[in-house]
Amino acid sequence: MPESELNHESPERTLVSGDLAAFSRISGVDLANVLRIARDRALVLGNAGLAPGWHDAGFALSDLSAGLAVIDLSGTGLADLAARGTTADLMGPGPSRTISFAGIPVVVEPKDDAVGLHVERGHLAYIWTWFAAVLREPSA
C-alpha cells in the first residue's frame, strides 16, 4: 500500500471543488484571485499550498498544472479577434470564467492589458492554427 502523500511541490495550477469559502480560509488564497469555472469549482493560479484530494473542511483539490496551456492576447485588435471566436464578452465581468472559444472550452483569465486563454494542452495546436487563420484575414 503506497503512502498516501509523497513530499512533492505544491501544484502551480489547481482545480478546487466544493466549499470554496472553506478552501480560501484554509489555504489563504483570496477567492477574488481565482478563476471561477462553475458554481462550486475554481481554477487556482499559482500555489495552493495544500495536498491533492479531499479535505475534511469540505473541498477537494486536483493538480492541473500540466493539463493547460495559456495563450496571452493583447492589442487593439483584441475585441475584433474575440468576436470571431466567441459570443461571450471576453473582458466582461460575470461570475464565470469558462466560455466556448473557437469551438473548444476555454478558461479566460483577465489581466491588466491582456487576456489569458487557458486551453486543454491537447487543443493547443488547433487553437494556434485557428489564430493564424483569423489573423490572416482583413479585419471586419
Partner: protein
C-alpha cells in the same frame, strides 16, 4: 441559435448546452414496475407550448431547470437545482 441563461454563467448560445430530458421525470425506485420504468426511460411528454426541461451547461457542467415554450422558443425561467452555492 437560441440564447439560454445558465443560472451560474449567464446568457450563452445554445451550442454550449446539452438537453437532459423532461424535468419531473423522477427516477422510479428499484422496485418499479416494468411499465413505470420503461415510461421513465423512453416516454417524453413532447409538449407543444410551455415545457419544463433539464439542461446542462457544458462549459460549467451545471444541470438546471429551464421553463420554455417549445413553439415560440421563449424562455421564461432558468433555475438552479438544489439552491445557490
Amino acid at each position: 441559435m437560441q440564447l439560454f441563461t445558465c443560472p451560474f454563467c449567464g446568457p450563452r448560445p445554445e451550442t454550449e448546452f446539452h438537453f437532459g430530458g423532461d424535468a419531473d421525470n423522477d427516477r422510479p425506485g428499484a422496485e418499479a414496475s416494468d411499465a413505470s420504468w420503461t415510461d421513465y426511460l423512453f416516454f417524453r411528454h413532447n409538449r407543444k407550448g410551455p415545457a419544463r426541461e433539464i439542461w446542462m451547461h457544458l462549459s460549467c457542467r451545471e444541470a438546471f431547470l429551464m421553463e420554455r415554450d417549445t413553439v415560440t422558443h421563449t424562455v421564461t425561467a432558468t433555475l438552479a437545482l438544489g439552491g445557490e452555492a
